[in-house]
């Protein structure tokens, strides 16, 4: 059974990156982001013995990550509103040119995601992680139909924000 084979280190290796991405979508400040990642990992570690395989491990982990992120936003709402943009997460795997381009795209995407209202941000980050509408509905506690409608709206808003960013960037370059 999947739950019996689960170890924290395996979960960390497989889903650590997804957890870090969730944290970076909800927290700009690097120190507090690290704190949030640790909070999520601690919660995952504590919840693992209760995992019974009802959902995929990824959904299970992302559900905990999102719950912790929402708690974090509730606790630090005022600081979060004042935070300036920070440095993006560097990509250490690609060649320098590709790395620069990837990093630029990642940065723009991350900024656009961070600008979304909380519920839309959750929908978008879960969808970007590759979760189905059913899984997103399970994580957020809303119906599949509701997910479809809201996600479509959130995607449009994200695309619009990215379009604006691209226009600003190309304007600056010109």
């Amino acid at each position: 059974m999947e739950s019996q084979a689960l170890s924290f280190n395996a979960v960390l290796s497989q889903h650590g990156a997804a957890i870090a991405r969730v944290a970076s979508a909800f927290e700009r400040n690097p120190a507090r982001r690290d704190e949030l990642v640790q909070e999520i990992l601690l919660a995952v570690w504590q919840a693992l013995p209760r995992y019974r395989g009802e959902a995929s491990v990824k959904t299970f982990v992302l559900r905990i990550a999102h719950n912790r992120a929402v708690e974090h936003v509730l606790q630090h709402q005022r600081e979060l509103a004042r935070e300036p943009l920070d440095e993006a997460i560097p990509d250490t795997r690609a060649s320098p040119e590709r790395q620069a381009s990837l990093q630029q795209r990642s940065e723009r995407l991350l900024d656009a995601v961070r600008e979304l209202p909380l519920v839309q941000r959750e929908l978008v980050t879960l969808a970007l992680e590759g979760l189905s509408h059913e899984e997103i509905g399970g994580v957020l506690g809303i119906s599949v139909g509701n997910v479809a409608v809201r996600l479509s709206r959130a995607r449009k808003q994200l695309m619009a924000a990215l379009g604006e960013t691209e226009n600003v960037v190309s304007g600056e370059q010109a």
Binding site: D91, V139, G141
Partner: protein, 191 residues
């Protein structure tokens, strides 16, 4: 390019954000170690309290009141530690519930805190009156040699402490009301 292609590209960009996993693992190991160390310290404190209570009981170096005090803490210390550990292990948190469930839990907790604060505010004048009654009674029954401010220090101390507590509660109530408003707005968005 179609919308779905755009979205796929975005998902790829999103998932391509590389994370320094070894650093993350190191940092997690360090946090876990700290957590265990903290649990160890708490258990050590409980054992120390028990040792002290047993020492006071058997060797009686202090009056009986201290022995009772020791036994009271011998019971309270493990209870408090247990509550603390339970709170930290996430048993008081809805980590596996949906975000909606979590938000509703947050709202219920904030409303509960507000109710407690309201109850505290209602009881506060009686607590101050009781403190002064006790102070005046003590002065009347055991009159001090010099009747100065010092004779009323107990009542004054309780009044100042409770007023400071009231100010803190007001601040806390404002924060809880703000939390409820925010959570309600998010719940509205999820409906």
């Amino acid at each position: 390019m179609t919308d779905s292609n755009d979205w796929l590209q975005l998902a790829t960009t999103w998932q391509a954000q590389a994370i320094d996993l070894p650093t993350l693992q190191r940092s997690t190991r360090w946090h876990t170690l700290r957590l265990y160390a903290l649990i160890g310290v708490e258990i050590a404190v409980v054992l120390m309290v028990w040792a002290l209570a047993i020492y006071w009981q058997w060797f009686k170096p202090l009056p009986t009141l201290w022995q009772l005090w020791g036994w009271l803490w011998a019971v309270l210390a493990p209870l408090l530690t247990w509550f603390n550990l339970r709170a930290r292990t996430g048993s008081f948190r809805a980590s596996e519930d949906s975000v909606r469930g979590l938000l509703e839990l947050k709202k219920t907790r904030a409303e509960g805190t507000l109710r407690t604060i309201r109850f505290g505010n209602a009881v506060l004048p009686y607590a101050i009156a009781l403190a002064w009654l006790w102070n005046l009674l003590a002065v009347w029954l055991y009159p001090p040699k010099v009747l100065g401010m010092a004779a009323f220090s107990g009542g004054l101390l309780v009044t100042v402490t409770l007023l400071l507590w009231l100010a803190f509660c007001r601040h806390r109530a404002r924060r809880e009301r703000r939390t409820i408003a925010e959570v309600e707005q998010w719940l509205q968005e999820l409906r």
